[in-house]
C-alpha cells in the first residue's frame, strides 16, 4: 500500500502543475482527489463520482485511468461502476429531465409524465435523444414526496408537475416537437 502511494505521488509531482500529460487538464481534478484520499483503494466510489462530475460520464479511458491510479484490476473498477445506477457510460445530453418515480410520485401520475416526454421526444427513459439535446432519466425517490409529482430539469427541482407542464418546460429549453 505504502509503495503504491509513493509511486503515484511521484507521478503527480514529476510534471508541471496544471498540465496533464494527456493534454486534458480535467484529469488534474481527478488526481487532486486521489491525492487527498491518499490513493486509498476504498476511495473508488468517491473517485468515480468526481470523475463523472468532471467529465459528465465514465468512458473506458477514464475507468482504466482510475484503475491504474488506485492499482485495482480494471475488471473490478468496471464491476463497481456498472453496479451503481448513478454512474453513466454515455455522454449526457445538453439538457437533463429527471422524473421522480418514487411511490408518492407514482400515485400522483409520474408514469404519465415519463411516457409523455418519452413519446414526444422519441427518447426512452434512461437514454439521450439522437440529436443529443435531451437526456430523460427517472429517479427512485428524490425525497420531496410532499411535492409529488416531482421533476428535476437541469438541476432545478419542480413540484406538482404534470405531463403538459413538463413538456412546456422541455420545449422551452430544447425546442418544441412537431
Amino acid at each position: 500500500m505504502s509503495d503504491t502511494t509513493t509511486r503515484a505521488v511521484v507521478g503527480v509531482s514529476d510534471r508541471q502543475q496544471g498540465e496533464h500529460p494527456s493534454g486534458d487538464n480535467r484529469f488534474d481534478l481527478i488526481d487532486k482527489h486521489l491525492k487527498r484520499g491518499r490513493y486509498a483503494q476504498d476511495q473508488l466510489i468517491e473517485t468515480l463520482h468526481v470523475a463523472q462530475d468532471v467529465f459528465g460520464y465514465l468512458s473506458e479511458d477514464i475507468l482504466i485511468y482510475v484503475a491504474r491510479a488506485l492499482r485495482l484490476p480494471p475488471s473490478m473498477v468496471y464491476g463497481v461502476a456498472t453496479f451503481y445506477q448513478l454512474f453513466t457510460f454515455d455522454p449526457p445530453g445538453d439538457h437533463a429531465c429527471t422524473v421522480c418515480t418514487g411511490t408518492a410520485c407514482f400515485v400522483k401520475g409520474a408514469d404519465d409524465i415519463v411516457k409523455g416526454v418519452s413519446n414526444a421526444y422519441d427518447v426512452p427513459a434512461g437514454e439521450t435523444s439522437e440529436d443529443g439535446s435531451l437526456t430523460l432519466k427517472t429517479a427512485r425517490c428524490l425525497g420531496s414526496c410532499g411535492l409529488a409529482p416531482v421533476v428535476v430539469f437541469d438541476g432545478e427541482v419542480l413540484g406538482h408537475q404534470n405531463t403538459e407542464s413538463t413538456l412546456e418546460l422541455v420545449a422551452a429549453a430544447v425546442g418544441g416537437v412537431d
Binding site: I45, M76, Y84, L86, G102, A104, V107, K108, C141, C145
Partner: protein, 543 residues
C-alpha cells in the same frame, strides 16, 4: 490544539443575540420549501431589512423543515419574549408585507396566516424533529443554544460507557430503519467485541421511495446526528465512524461535511474530545444509487469501495464488519434519538409511545392526502388519527383505500384496519412493516395490482443479482404482474404468482429478496377481488 467549545458560554452569547432584535423572522429553507420558492422569499426579506434599515429591529434566520411541506414556503414571525405567528405560501411580496405589517403596525396579515391549532400541529410530539423550524442548521451555535452537545458532555464527563448503554436499554429504543432491533442490545454486542479497531456506521442510505426523514435530519440537524454517533462510539469503544449517505442527497452530504469540520474545530470530534480521553474520527461516505446498500452487509461492501452485494449472516457485523473489524450500523433516525435520551433519561423516553414500541416515529406523509409533509407522533398513534386528523383526509371528495408503509418491503393496509395503532408488532401482524417511515395514502382510484407491479419493478431493478431466488424470482413475478394488469393473466398465473411469493420470501439471501413479495402478498390478501376481476374478464374473452 485549540481549546474545546465552551457550551455554556455559547448558550449565553446566543441568548443575547436572540434578544438583540425585537423581531425574528424564521423562514423554512428546507428542500420542499426551497422548491416552492423559499429562496426568493428569504432574499426579499433580507434585502428589505437592509434597504429600509431594519437591522436593529429584525433578524432573518433560515431554518430546517417546519413540517407542512404542502403549504410552503413557510415563515414564522417571532416577537421578543412573546407570541409567534406562522404563515404559509409566503411569496416574496407577501413576505415583505408580513414583516412590515408586524414591525410597523403590530398587525398580522390574515391572507397568509397558518392555523397552528389544527391537528397537524397539535397532535404531533417532536423529539427527533424538535429543532426543525427552530435552529439554523448551518450554525453549530444555534444547535448548542438549543441544548446541543449537552448530552455528549454529560456522557463523557459523568457516565461510564456501560451506563450510557444501560440508559439506551432502559429507553426501549428500537432501530428506526425498519426491523426494530433493540438498540441497547446492539450497542452491548459491539461494546463486548474485542479488537483494537471498532467502527460505528450511520446508515443514511434512505432508499425506500416515499421516506425522507433521514434526509431531513442530515440536512436540517446534522449536529444532532453527529452527537448521537459520538455518544454511540463512546459507549461501544469505537474510534472511527462513517456516515453512509445516498448520492441522491447532495445537500445532506455538503451539510454533514461542513458540520463534521466545524465539530472537529470545536473539539467535539477528533482527538481528545472536550479534553477527555475519548477520540473519534467521522467521515462521510457516498453511495451511488443502489437500494440494496441499505442492507447492512451490502452497505459495508460499498463503504469499502466494492459492489454493494450482501453477505450471509452470521457472522454479524458486530463480530466481523468493515475490513473484518467489529462494526455497528444504526439508522440515522435511531441515532438522532440518542442525545435526547441521554439528556432526559431512558425512563422519560420509555414513557412516550407503547410498552414495546417506545418513543416517537417520524413519518413522511404523502400521496392522496391533504396535508403532506413530515410528521412525528408517539408510537401507537392510530392510522386513522394520522390519516384523517393530522393528514386532513383524502382530498377531492374521494375516499381512503389503503395506506402503504414500509416501501417495497412493506404492504398496503386497507380501510378496515384504520384503527390499528402504529407500532412494530401491529404493522407486522397486518402483513406490512414499519419500515423507515414512508406513509403513502392511496384513494379509491388506485388499482392495487398496479401498486404491486410498481413495487415489483422496483425490487426487480434493485436486486443485486447475487442469489437466484431474488434475481430470477422478481423478474418472473414482475412478468406475471404485467400480464395480469394488462388483462392477459390466467388463473394459473395467479397461482404461480402466489407460489413465487413464498419461494422468493423464504429462499432469498438478504432482506431485499425476503421482503420483495410483501406488496404482492398484502394486496392479494386484502384486495384479491381486484386481481380476480382482471383475470375473469380475460377468461370470458378466451372462451
Amino acid at each position: 490544539m485549540a481549546a474545546p467549545i465552551d457550551l455554556h458560554e455559547v448558550m449565553d452569547r446566543e441568548r443575547e443575540e436572540r434578544f438583540r432584535t425585537r423581531w425574528r423572522v424564521k423562514a423554512c429553507a428546507s428542500t420542499a420549501c426551497m422548491s416552492a420558492g423559499a429562496g426568493a422569499t428569504i432574499q426579499a426579506v433580507e434585502d428589505m431589512v437592509e434597504r429600509e434599515d431594519m437591522e436593529l429591529e429584525v433578524q432573518v434566520i433560515p431554518t430546517g423543515c417546519m413540517g407542512l411541506c404542502s403549504a410552503g414556503p413557510l415563515m414564522r414571525m417571532m416577537r421578543r419574549g412573546g407570541d409567534e405567528t406562522d404563515y404559509q405560501k409566503v411569496t416574496p411580496d407577501a413576505a415583505k408585507e408580513i414583516v412590515r405589517s408586524h414591525v410597523l403596525n403590530e398587525e398580522p396579515v390574515p391572507e397568509h396566516l397558518l392555523d397552528t391549532t389544527m391537528p397537524f400541529f397539535t397532535s404531533q410530539e417532536r423529539v427527533v424533529l424538535a429543532n426543525g423550524g427552530v435552529i439554523n442548521p448551518d450554525r453549530i451555535e444555534s444547535y448548542v443554544a438549543h441544548g446541543g452537545y449537552q448530552a455528549l458532555e454529560k456522557a463523557l464527563t459523568s457516565m461510564k460507557p456501560k451506563q450510557v448503554i444501560e440508559e439506551i436499554r432502559r429507553s426501549g429504543l428500537r432501530g428506526r430503519g425498519g426491523a426494530g432491533y433493540p438498540v441497547g442490545s446492539k450497542w452491548s454486542l459491539l461494546a463486548a467485541a474485542g479488537g483494537k479497531t471498532k467502527y460505528v456506521v450511520a446508515n443514511g442510505d434512505e432508499g425506500d421511495p416515499g421516506a425522507y426523514m433521514d434526509r431531513t435530519i442530515m440536512e436540517d440537524d446534522p449536529h444532532r446526528l453527529i452527537e448521537g454517533i459520538a455518544i454511540a462510539a463512546y459507549a461501544t469503544g469505537a474510534d472511527q465512524a462513517y456516515i453512509y449517505v445516498r448520492a441522491e442527497y447532495p445537500r445532506a452530504i455538503e451539510r454533514l461535511d461542513r458540520a463534521i469540520r466545524v465539530a472537529r474545530r470545536n473539539r467535539l470530534l477528533g482527538r481528545k474530545i472536550l479534553d477527555t480521553n475519548f477520540s473519534l474520527a467521522v467521515e462521510v461516505r457516498i453511495g451511488a444509487g443502489a437500494f440494496v446498500c441499505g442492507e447492512e452487509t451490502a452497505l459495508m461492501a460499498s463503504i469499502e469501495g466494492r459492489r454493494g452485494t450482501p453477505q450471509l449472516r452470521p457472522p454479524y457485523p458486530t463480530e466481523k464488519g468493515l475490513w473484518g473489524a467489529p462494526t455497528m450500523i444504526n439508522n440515522v433516525e435511531t441515532l438522532a434519538n440518542v442525545a435526547p435520551i441521554i439528556d432526559r433519561g431512558g425512563d422519560w423516553f420509555a414513557s412516550i409511545g407503547t410498552e414495546k414500541s417506545t418513543g416517537t416515529k417520524v413519518f413522511a406523509l404523502a400521496g392522496d392526502i391533504v396535508n403532506t409533509g413530515l410528521i412525528e407522533v408517539p408510537m401507537g398513534t392510530s392510522l386513522r388519527e394520522i390519516v384523517e386528523e393530522i393528514g386532513g383526509g383524502v382530498p377531492d371528495g374521494r375516499s381512503f383505500k389503503a395506506a402503504q408503509t414500509g416501501g417495497p418491503s412493506g404492504g398496503c393496509i386497507p380501510a378496515k384496519f384504520l384503527d390499528t395503532p402504529v407500532d412494530y408488532e401491529s404493522l407486522r401482524e397486518l402483513g406490512s412493516i414499519m419500515g423507515s417511515g414512508g406513509l403513502i395514502v392511496m384513494d379509491d382510484e388506485v388499482r392495487m395490482p398496479d401498486v404491486a407491479k410498481f413495487f415489483m419493478e422496483f425490487s426487480m431493478d434493485e436486486s443485486c443479482g447475487k442469489c437466484t431466488p431474488c434475481r430470477a424470482g422478481t423478474v418472473q413475478m414482475h412478468n406475471l404482474l404485467q400480464r395480469i394488469t394488462d388483462g392477459n393473466g390466467t388463473r394459473r398465473d395467479l397461482r404461480d404468482l402466489e407460489h413465487l411469493c413464498s419461494v422468493v420470501r423464504d429462499m432469498s439471501l438478504c432482506g431485499l429478496g425476503q421482503s420483495a413479495p410483501n406488496p404482492v402478498i398484502s394486496t392479494l390478501q386484502y384486495f384479491r377481488s381486484e386481481y380476480e376481476a382482471l383475470i375473469d374478464e380475460e377468461e370470458v374473452v378466451h372462451a
